[in-house]
Symmetry: C2
Subunit: 198 residues, 2 copies
């Protein structure tokens, strides 16, 4: 069975960067936005649309999102993306050991790979600094705190809609780390140790 590190993370916590560096150190692939191309290919949907719909609900409410955009058979486009995303992740895990950032890979691969499920979080200050200075998705004047709250709320709602995992609750993950406490390199080292114990 292949080993898969499934990284969930707070918005702005450097979870993606930690995943990439971990994969590099372990000599395995890291799938994050690269997953999107495969999903886009299979669905014909726009990459940006998948990025949004494959990990975030449109609103912060899982219930509104559960009800929205359903056809007469009860299916939504978001469901279709979830299904394709699921297939793509299962195919990858069957093929190779890898790191998957986001997309609820821990839940999807339960029983199908040796999973190391990880949750990365960070202090609000560190996250604000990251989204303003690195991601450049928001400026200090645009209330970055609100952006953090909104993005996390939408990730949490997505997780609630499609999985049994309570997003961010420790008992649903093998290891959770505060990246602002330890720093990125130390998180990579700690996770390397965890991976080697799988």
């Amino acid at each position: 069975m292949n080993k898969v590190v499934a990284i969930s993370r707070q918005y702005g916590s450097a979870g993606r960067l930690i995943g990439m560096k971990l994969a590099e150190k372990l000599g395995i692939s890291c799938y994050d936005s690269s997953l999107l191309d495969r999903i886009a290919e299979k669905t014909g949907f726009d990459r940006k649309f998948i990025k949004e719909s494959g990990e975030y609900t449109a609103s912060g409410s899982w219930l509104l999102s559960a009800l929205a955009g359903r056809d007469y058979n009860g299916h939504s486009i978001q469901d279709e993306i979830w299904n394709v995303q699921r297939e793509v992740i299962i195919e990858l895990a069957a093929k190779e050991s890898c790191v998957v950032v986001g997309r609820n890979a821990d839940y999807i691969l339960n029983g199908k790979a040796k999973i190391l499920s990880v949750f990365i979080h960070a202090s609000e200050e560190a996250r604000i600094q990251r989204v303003v200075n690195e991601y450049k998705e928001v400026t200090y004047n645009e209330d970055p705190r609100r952006r953090l709250r909104q993005m996390d709320k939408r990730r949490r709602a997505y997780c609630q809609l499609y999985t049994d995992v309570h997003w961010g609750e420790a008992r649903f993950y093998d290891v959770c780390l505060d990246s602002s406490k330890f720093g990125i390199e130390a998180c990579v080292d700690i996770l390397t140790g965890c991976y080697n114990r799988l």
Copy 2:
């Protein structure tokens, strides 16, 4: 500033044992039930009473516990134990680096020591096995699942009553580990690495 490892844990997750082994490995003291003697000395209360009242609410409801047993000044015996416990933990942290199991030491020592806040959890099966076979506090016939739920509920309620920490939510801890995933020795190793990075 001294370093303090503050371990919170699910009931039956081996958090106490991990704390003891970690302290031994680091060559520092571990305070768990040993704290109780100091608190008993300062308050004159019975040790067993403190064990219960210093970490568990009487019911699973923080609100009922917040209302219960208050005198005309609004104080309860549980508040008194909280205050003494707080003093004892602050005194210890000022004196030496150490591991403290339970008793919300992470919250109490915020800003007063270099804290490594830890949450240990484990699968339900592993916890049941532990409480039945090691703690011998309940038998398989006595519905151990119910016991786990009750004890965690009371710890969570205590935490809610006296701190700002959301018990078991990853973002409130520096590191969270599933002891049934990695095993006790591996958890000790991982935490040693975290401690050395403080």
